[in-house]
Each structure stands twice: as structure tokens, then as C-alpha cells.
Amino acid sequence: MSAEPVSTPAAPARPTGRFGDAGRRVAASIIAVLLALACGAILIALWGVNPVSAYGALLNGAFGNLNSIAETLLRAIPLTCTGLAVAFAFRAGTFNIGAEGQLMFGGAAAAAVGLALPHLPPLLLIPSMMGSAMIAGALWSLLPGVLKLRFGANELITTIMLNYVAIHFISFLLYGPMQESAGYLAQTDRLDRATTLPQLIERTRLHIGFLIVLGVVALSHFALWHTSWGYKLRVVGLNARVALNSGMAVTALTVSAFLVSGALAGLAGYMEVVGVQRRMIEGLSPGFGYTGIIVALLGGTSPLGVLAAAILFAALQVGATTMETAEGVPSTLATIIQGLVVLFVIGRGTIDLALRRRGSA
């Protein structure tokens, strides 16, 4: 927890490598997912349910018809945002475990603007809600960034602590100044129709926010791999000292990574408020910020990988709800499978180790 914390060597730094590396990484990720699903099958069997029918229900719930596909993609929206948020921080050699709190602030800001300016034309209203959500998320993530750079306070712990602060502060807002006029629940009034994002598929909840997120993924990919900012960010993440010695503004780059990260988490909050809840509520996020860490790791901290991982976990979560109703297996199984996926991804050195042992024996 010193001024030069653990995070410098940190993160799943992408092995700068030869040509086949990307393919091998994807293969390793797929194997990790399959292994985790196999472990999940064992748990389902122990629960007393046939794993094949449970997974069948899960698949059906995630992709069975147009509506379930729409629900899966709808769930992938916030997961992609928080996954990208964590990935950008990883790339810069820092940890953002605070996406959960940043998301909450983003959601609250979006709802506040939407409720305060309902008569603005949608063409102005929608961007200003989205913008304020991103700014709110970015500002909340600036705090741990400043605490790290100014005081050397480890961002791992500060971001987690700030999550709790954010959740309780939002709870205060929702029971206090922002509470619905009815005054019962910890939520704001319902947002006006003018704030709605147009539907993407008719008679489903999927909205054009999904296209916006696809755009954000493309933009992130471009920013990371085809701009000098992205290049510098990656150098800082791989080796801060080298970056400093070659004259890069390491502090400014780190701050920019925190800001981008927070803005993306704030965007997730906007999407949930506008596209799913239609108001700000106390439990807006069932852990999207934390799942974002897993999404980023499985996606190899690359934007396209994050998108794929987000859709996979979204399918797992949406399908698990169907599995719970149909087969009685608790949907928290999805959380276990997610955790196992990461452990298998980061544990892929086991195979090398086993081979080395055998070779030397």
C-alpha cells in the first residue's frame, strides 16, 4: 500500500506476443467456461436435479425465443459498460473495483436530470441525461484517483469503501430529497415517456441503448489500439517507470483512465435507469460493478473480448432465473459459475506447471 502499490506489475497485462497468442487466449477462455459449467453441473446434480434439463432450461431462458434473446442482450448492456470500465483501469495498471458505486451515481444523476427537465425536447433531454450520468460516474471515480496519486492511498480499498459510501448516500437521497411523491419506497418518481430510448426489437424491452453500447465498444477498441492516448495508457499499465522515463505524463494518463472508467460505469447506471427500471431505485445494480471485473478478466481486457464475455454472463444470469423457476435450482449458481470461470482463466498456468513437473521428473 505504498506510493508505488501492487498495481504496477499488476493486472492481466496482455502478454506482448507472437501471432497465435490471441487465439490461444480465446481457446483458454473457452476451456475455462466449459470447466466452470462442468463444475456447475456437479452442483446441480448434488442439488438433486438433472444437469441436462437444468442447463436446458438455462439455455432456453437465455436464447429460447426472441424475447429471451432480447432480455439477454438487455442484460449485456450494463455488463459491457462495467466490463469496459474495469478493463480501461486494468490497462492503465490500476484497479477499479468501484464501478458499482460509480454506476449508482450515474443512475441517480440521469434520473435527477430526467425528472428536473421533463419538458426538454427528447433530442436534448436524452443526451443530457446520458452525459450527466457519465460525468457523475467520472467524478465519483476521480476521488480514488486523486487519493491514490496525491496520498498514495491504495485504490483497491478506497474504491470498495467508496462503493459502500455511494450505496448509503444514494439510499439517503432516495429516502430523502429524491424520494417519489407517494413517499413509500426508496425510489424516485417514474420518468416521463420523453426520456425513453426507442425500442430495438418490437414487443421486447431491448432498446437502442444496445447499439449505443456496441458503438462504445468499437470506440474503445479504436481508442485503445489506434490512438496515441491508448498506446500511452498501455505503456503506463505495462511499466509505469518506462512510461515516465520516456516523458509520458503518467499522472495525467492515470487520471484519464480513472475518468473514462468512471464514465463508462456511469453509463451503465443510465442504461439501467432509462432502459429497465424507468426510475432510480435503491437496488439498481445486482452487482454489475463486481461482475464487470469478471467480464474484464474473461474478455482479456480487450473491448471485443469484454463484449463477448458480457453477453455470455448475461445469458448465464438471465437463463439462471428461468432455471430457478423451472427446475428449482437457485439462480445464485450463476454467480458461482462466474467465479469459477475467472479462477480457471487465471489458473491456466496449472497445465504448464503439471507439464513441467512431469518433464523434470
Binding site: 501492487v6 499488476a10 493486472a11 473495483i97 483497491l156 480499498i157 430523502g176 437457485p330 458461482i336 475467472v342
Partner: protein
């Protein structure tokens, strides 16, 4: 004089003192565990998951067997088991310590919640166990301030408090402690002295898990008598800050944890008394305090030189 004594023995104040210790103990135990890991050079982000594992396994065991102490034992061992698994990742595989710790924490949240439903069904009723009884120590319990703080507690509190001098003896007065510190400061040098870096770190992580698991079991079996999803609520991370505030030293950690327990007890009392501050701000206090600790102490406490770095033994040619 009488008024002072009357205040010191006032039931509200006595209750506050008892609560201070009750709230400090889980963090104290986790931080002591973190001390062994960090002194040997491993940043143990997994404390949170180890605590939650201990709380869950301890509760379930106690509920099913009807024996609280057997629950405490199993919760402690389960924490140690998680420590062993984390050691496999961070020491044997050399995985990034932070990533591995977070991955375990997230897995444990899901696994305990799933396991709870597996044991108690999907209903909403929260089963309870009779938590440990207060066991006042004769005479000492009547001493003002110190009595309620230290001698009007459960047997598990006394056990936890005894672990402070015990860990101090291990880390400061025994050769094992010297070896741990050597591994954390200069692993290469330690290896040349014949100390196995890998073995030392594995043992430290297991010890770390045992202590954090005990802290978690305390939470479910001594402090509350029930288990709730994610009931540790960040205490494992708070323990990392307490560790820093206590300068990675058992006595310092004891003081830091007591201070923290006091602040936590104060905010709980504040909620009960209704002092006009929205309760959310009171609940925030421990987390804000943790951030303030980090601001005040980061960079002022020297870290073990090898903290956070995986160690690879140089290949003998």
C-alpha cells in the same frame, strides 16, 4: 467524582463499551491474519472471502450439530482451506495476488449464498443459533471501562484477545517470525539461508485464512447468531486498512481495531438514539474512516520490500 463514576457505569456507556469489543474482534482477527500474509510478502485481498467462508461454514456446522464450538472450529478450518487455495494461485502459480484474491472473494459470495439455500431451502425465514453467552470474569468484570471492554464478553472474545500476544510472540520472538519477515523483505536472501520462500508463504496464507475464518465465525456465532448473504460487508477490506494503521504489528493492530470498533459502536448507538443525522450517514462512517486511515497512513508506513511480488526461484544451472 461520583458523577464520573456514574457515567462510566451507566448501562448505555457500558453497552457501548461491550459493543466496541464485539465489533472490533472480527476485524482484529482478520487483520492479524493479514499481518502474516503481508509480512511474508503476499497481499491478501482474499481476507473478505475467508471471513465470509468462516461465517458460513461456522454457522451451518453449529446449526446442524448444535455445537457452537464445533462450528467455530470448522469455520476456522474452512478459512484456512481457502488460504491454502489462494496460496496455490499466488505462490505456486505466481498469479497476480490482487486478481486471485478478488476472484476468490466473488466466488465465495456466490458459493455461500448457494450453500445457504442448499442447507436451509429457498424460504425467507432466517434460522438462528443461540450465540455464545457472555461469560463475565469475576471481580475484573466490575472494573469500570476495562470491565465491559475486556471482561464482560463471550469466551470467544477472550480467545481472540489471547491471540494478540500469541501472534506477537510468533512474529517478534520466534525464529519462524524472523523467517517470515526475511521472506517478505528479501526473498532471495532468505532462500540462500535455506528458508523456502514458497513454503513460508503457503504457511502464512493458511494461517491468514485460519485467523480470518475465525473472525468470520465470530461474526455469525458470537456477535449475531445468524448468517446473512454477504454479511461481512467489506470487513475483510477494512481489515487491510486496520493492518496499515496498526503498522502490521499485533499490538498496533489491536489498538487500531479497538478504535475502529469504537467508531462503529458509536454510529450504531447514534442510530438508536436518533440524533437527527440521517442514519445512512452513520452507516457510512466506518467506510469513511477507513478511507481517512488510508489517506493518513499510506506512504508513512514502510511496506515489506517484496510485498505483492510473486517469487520465482532462480533455476540452478
Amino acid at each position: 467524582m461520583d458523577t464520573i463514576l456514574a457515567f462510566l457505569t451507566d448501562p448505555v456507556f457500558v453497552g457501548f463499551l461491550q459493543a466496541t469489543t464485539r465489533l472490533a474482534i472480527p476485524i482484529l482477527l482478520a487483520a492479524l491474519g493479514g499481518m502474516f500474509a503481508e509480512r511474508s510478502g503476499v497481499l491478501n485481498i482474499g481476507l473478505e472471502g475467508m471471513m465470509l467462508t468462516g461465517a458460513f461454514v461456522g454457522f451451518v456446522t453449529a446449526f446442524l450439530t448444535g455445537n457452537i464450538w464445533f462450528g467455530v472450529l470448522m469455520g476456522t478450518l474452512a478459512g484456512g482451506g481457502l488460504g491454502l487455495m489462494l496460496a496455490f494461485y499466488t505462490v505456486t502459480l505466481g498469479t497476480n495476488q490482487v486478481v486471485a484474491g478478488i476472484a476468490f472473494n466473488l466466488l465465495v459470495v456466490g458459493a455461500t449464498s448457494f450453500g445457504y439455500r442448499a442447507v436451509f431451502g429457498m424460504g425467507t425465514a432466517a434460522p438462528r443459533v443461540t450465540s455464545l453467552e457472555t461469560l463475565p470474569i469475576p471481580i475484573l468484570a466490575d472494573v469500570p471501562v476495562l470491565g465491559p471492554l475486556l471482561f464482560q464478553q463471550t469466551a470467544l472474545v477472550y480467545l481472540a484477545l489471547l491471540l494478540v500476544p500469541l501472534t506477537w510472540v510468533i512474529i517478534a520472538r520466534m525464529s519462524a517470525g524472523t523467517a517470515i519477515v526475511a521472506v517478505g523483505e528479501h526473498p532471495q536472501a532468505a532462500e540462500t539461508l535455506g528458508i523456502s520462500v514458497a513454503r513460508t508463504r503457503i504457511f502464512c496464507l493458511i494461517g491468514s485464512g485460519l485467523l480470518a475464518g475465525l473472525g468470520g465465525a465470530f461474526l455469525s456465532l458470537s456477535a449475531t447468531g445468524l448468517f446473512l448473504d454477504n454479511m461481512t460487508a467489506g470487513r475483510g477490506y477494512i481489515a487491510l486498512a486496520i493492518l496499515l494503521l496498526g503498522r502490521r504489528h499485533p499490538w498496533g493492530i489491536l489498538l487500531a481495531a479497538a478504535l475502529f470498533g469504537g467508531a462503529d459502536a458509536l454510529q450504531l448507538r447514534g442510530q438508536g438514539l436518533g440524533i437527527g443525522v440521517p442514519y445512512q450517514f452513520l452507516v457510512m462512517l466506518p467506510y469513511v474512516l477507513t478511507i481517512l486511515v488510508l489517506i493518513g497512513f499510506a506512504g508513512k508506513v514502510r511496506d515489506p520490500a517484496a510485498l505483492g511480488q510473486p517469487f520465482r526461484r532462480a533455476k540452478a544451472e
